[in-house]
């Protein structure tokens, strides 16, 4: 087991470097010139020769004329930068955001908090609803309630999330006026503690409901299908013939087997906590990771976008490892020590 994890981490590092190299190359294909961006303001007030000289100096100073592989190594922190210090990704320097004029790490902190806050609530709500609902439908397969849920979930599954968002805004914010249309807090209010938290939840309620609702369909159907499969297995008959309570048959014997396919979904959901939904965040004007990423791309702030991309790379690599290890925990037939 330990050997396996060690081996997997080794692979993970190799993949990380390959992906980062590809990413760095790709982002360098985006036509943007940080040196020109800095000097653009001065261009009109300088003589062309002086400007050209300054531009060339700045490019040299920023290391933009070096071969791309050297720049990559510097960015990664594998070789010293122009000041002679190791100062790259591996040393914890995620770069400088040209657009926000701040270190990337400082730019990311707030949206990250927001996104995690929303996603934790949405995930718990979605799992809390879909798992019991899916199990109930599987156990009462073919009942009126099940048929209704099937229709309801296929509708929910088919409508894109931005349509759901608009419908819900119209319903709950415009007509019923239960929730604010958008935003992240009461403007001008200076709440602290619990009050601030409640205010936040009040503003996030609608996006949360939309996110949960959007994921209900697929997830419920998935849990239902997995549970129906598990309930139709031969050993369920054995369990019933043993005189075990129906509750134990469903929640212990069947659910443990249904969990095998469902666990993939659950874990990928928890990993998704870090990534913001671009559509939801933009619709509700929430400053989360999704909208930040779009902002970075729209403003040619490629150090910011690249750093975020690298973060997601690490999250998904570690996530895949956790997922594989969790199979071994849930299914005794899977051995994770080879």
């Amino acid at each position: 087991m330990r050997k396996y994890i060690f081996k997997r981490i080794l692979y993970l590092i190799v993949v990380f470097f390959i992906v980062s190299l590809l990413m760095y190359f790709l982002y360098n294909l985006i036509p943007s010139d940080p040196a020109r961006n800095q000097l653009e303001a001065l261009k009109s007030s300088l003589k062309p020769e002086v400007y050209q000289q300054m531009y060339a100096d700045l490019r040299k100073q920023m290391g933009l004329d070096d071969p791309i592989i050297v720049r990559y190594a510097r960015w990664m922190g594998l070789i010293p930068d122009l000041n002679g210090k190791f100062n790259g990704l591996l040393e914890g320097n995620f770069g400088f955001s040209e657009f926000f004029k701040k270190d990337v790490i400082d730019v990311v902190v707030e949206p990250m908090k927001t996104t995690i806050f929303i996603n934790i609530f949405a995930t718990i709500m979605a799992l809390g609803i879909t798992i019991p609902l899916g199990i109930y439908c599987a156990v009462h397969k073919g009942s009126k309630f099940d048929n209704f849920t099937q229709v309801f979930t296929i509708v929910g599954y088919s409508i894109p999330v931005y349509i759901i968002a608009l419908i819900f805004i119209f319903l709950f914010a415009v007509i019923l006026r239960w929730f604010p249309v958008s935003g992240m807090g009461t403007p001008g209010a200076n709440y602290t503690g619990i009050r601030a938290m409640l205010d936040r939840l009040y503003y996030f309620a609608l996006p949360l409901i939309v996110m949960t609702f959007g994921s209900l369909g697929g997830m419920t159907r998935y849990v239902r299908a997995a549970m129906i499969d598990a309930l139709s297995m031969d050993h369920i008959k054995t369990a019933r013939a043993k005189g075990v309570k129906e509750k134990t048959v469903i929640y212990s014997h069947a659910w443990r087997n249904a969990l095998l396919p469902v666990v993939t979904l659950i874990i990928s959901w928890f990993l998704g906590i870090f990534s913001g939904s671009v559509v939801i965040e933009n619709t509700f004007n929430i400053n989360g990771m999704g909208s930040l990423y779009i902002k970075g791309l729209n403003n040619h702030d490629y150090e910011l976008a690249l750093a975020m991309q690298m973060f997601y790379t690490v999250v998904s690599l570690v996530g895949a490892l956790i997922m594989d290890l969790s199979y071994g925990l849930v299914d005794p037939r899977v051995h994770v020590d080879k």
């Binding site: 050993h235 054995t238 369990a239 013939a241 849930v330």
Partner: protein, 334 residues
């Protein structure tokens, strides 16, 4: 046989009807089936696939899934109680305790994600209120009883680590853990190869004596029936067509279907290249021929057979046949 009759029946099934309401129509999987199982005897049920023998046995502990199944009538008297009338809680006390099951597929009949030990302990803890430690000790003992080597190690294994024969032994250990009065074995050796099959059958016969249980043994394998059963019940299209003790069935079958079955066994003494077969196919249970369901395949069928079906008649002591022409004799004028 006569001493058998003096014993009181452990299980009395009277006019059991288990139907399935499917999209294709009403399927009478078990249609008016009556039989008794006496203490200490092995009753074999034979018949082709889809003749209702499994559903009959599943019905005994109400294991048929409802819907689509439905118990339309009859009584199943076991231990003074009608299994079709008692509450679910009372039923659970009987399942796995007084009536135990062994199923056909050892590869899929055990829960793949629980350890062998846990699955056996579960029965004991449900019915015997044992503590975890006691149950574990008892589970090891049960595995030892079915001659599994290293039971202390096997309790901590998952089912995937065992072969088919071993898993079937685990199933037997689980079924016998509470010393049931009736063991229902639904084709327990069909999925096993012949040598393992013989071992499992021997084991069942030995254990039957040891814990003094009755066995209801379902199979479509006549040689297995010959080895295991005291009495044999032959089913066709959801109905009992013949019921007699095992020697009578093999030596003097009276129902044309049973005659066909017995003569279709490979016989070492004949020189014929081909085996005898019963012409035709098993009828579709949702679309049975009128009258006796066997009439399209029966060499002795008359108009009477196409119009109605005989009752199960005791033609000689303890030999019941459902046929107008038992033994195939044609009564002219009928």
């Amino acid at each position: 046989m006569s001493e058998m009759m003096e014993k009181k029946p452990l299980l009395e099934v009277k006019n059991l009807k288990t139907y399935f309401h499917s999209a294709g129509g009403l399927v009478k999987a078990v249609d008016d089936v009556s039989f008794d199982v006496y203490e200490g005897e092995t009753l074999g049920i034979v018949g082709e696939s889809g003749c209702g023998k499994s559903i009959t046995c599943m019905s005994l502990a109400r294991l048929v899934e409802c819907p689509p199944g439905k118990y339309e009538g009859g009584e199943i008297l076991f231990d003074g109680q009608d299994m079709l009338k008692i509450s679910d809680a009372e039923l659970r006390k009987i399942r796995g305790n007084k009536i135990s099951y062994i199923f056909q597929e050892p590869m899929t009949s055990l829960n793949p994600v629980f350890k062998i030990g846990k699955q056996i302990e579960e029965v004991l803890r449900v019915h015997r209120n044992m503590s975890k430690e006691e149950a574990k000790k008892e589970a090891i003992h049960a595995l030892d009883l079915v001659r599994i080597p290293n039971p202390e190690r096997i309790v901590n294994e998952y089912p995937f680590a065992l072969s088919g024969g071993m898993r079937q032994r685990v199933m037997i250990a689980m079924a016998l853990a509470c010393s049931p009065k009736l063991l229902v074995a639904d084709e327990p050796t069909t999925a096993l190869d012949v040598t393992i099959q013989a071992q499992v059958l021997d084991l069942m016969n030995d254990l039957k004596k040891e814990i003094d249980t009755s066995i209801l043994f379902i199979t479509h394998d006549l040689s297995v029936i010959a080895e295991m059963a005291d009495r044999v019940m032959v089913m066709y299209a959801g109905k009992v067509v013949e019921l007699a003790d095992v020697n009578t069935i093999f030596e003097k079958p009276l129902h044309p279907y049973t005659i066909g079955l017995i003569s279709s066994r490979p016989d070492m003494s004949t020189t014929s290249d081909r085996l005898n077969v019963i012409p035709g196919n098993v009828p579709d249970l949702s679309d049975l021929p009128t009258g006796c369901a066997f009439n399209p395949r029966c060499p002795y069928a008359s108009d009477k057979c196409r119009e109605g079906i005989s009752e199960l008649v005791e033609v000689e002591p303890n030999h019941f046949v459902r046929c107008y022409y038992p033994g195939g004799e044609k009564h002219d004028g009928n």
